[in-house]
């Protein structure tokens, strides 16, 4: 999925407008994130969603309150573009936003985490084993 900064800025602005969220339309941050994501997934297009999450997630605060929902949508859109769904919830994603902000997670770890949650479209989601009673 090769998108330019203008398409992404437009999408970010539309999301913020529709949801009435505070937004910072930081074109420089978008351009930097696109370059980073392309470099990270250059050899393996299947790594696109993880590269998108890493490159944009680290910069989410630069887009204001709309940043996190925008990155979430971008991540799932990228997964769909390679024919996959992503089985994750927004709390798990928030853990990674916080870890990225703290510099506690490297790209390789994040790539593994995303890869474990990618599911080819048409396949049923894996059932999680029931939690053990405490």
């Amino acid at each position: 999925m090769h998108l330019g900064p203008d398409e992404l800025l437009e999408q970010l602005a539309n999301l913020a407008h529709a949801e009435r969220l505070d937004v910072l339309l930081d074109r420089g941050a978008i351009v930097d994130a696109i370059e980073d994501a392309r470099a990270l997934a250059a050899r393996h297009p299947a790594d696109g969603p993880a590269a998108t999450l890493y490159a944009f997630g680290r910069r989410a605060a630069r887009f204001g309150a709309a940043g996190r929902p925008f990155v979430r949508g971008l991540l799932h859109a990228h997964a769909l573009a390679i024919g996959c769904a992503l089985d994750m919830n927004d709390v798990e994603l928030s853990v990674h936003f916080a870890r990225m902000a703290l510099g506690q997670i490297e790209y390789l770890e994040l790539r593994g985490w995303v890869a474990a949650r990618l599911r080819p479209l048409g396949q049923k989601p894996k059932r999680m084993p029931p939690k053990r009673p405490r």
Binding site: L21, D22, A60, A65, A77, L80, L93, L121
Partner: protein
């Protein structure tokens, strides 16, 4: 009724069903064939399905500059998204 009786003889008169295609899968396939702006918008809209947009935005504002507190709140079950049943 008459049509159904005829269909017993002529199967082409029976309603023809195409193969079922999941709309998400169809959009993803279309995007792979033609990754233009419109398909990105469609994929983005699909990607936002089920998202707690306000919860994510609230968390971004609340923990801006203090990600350690966010992790502590998630561990303690006090995160804004953990109060929303849609996030689980």
């Amino acid at each position: 009724m008459e049509r159904l009786e005829k269909a017993a003889v002529r199967p082409e008169l029976l309603p023809q069903k195409g193969p079922f295609k999941d709309p998400v899968q169809a959009a993803a396939e279309a995007a792979q064939k033609n990754p233009d702006r419109r398909s990105f918008k469609e994929l983005f809209a699909l990607g936002m399905k089920g998202a707690d947009i306000q919860g994510l935005a609230k968390a971004a504002q609340k923990y801006e500059g203090d990600p350690a507190r966010e992790l502590a709140d998630i561990e303690a079950g006090r995160h804004p998204l953990q109060r929303c049943p849609r996030a689980h």
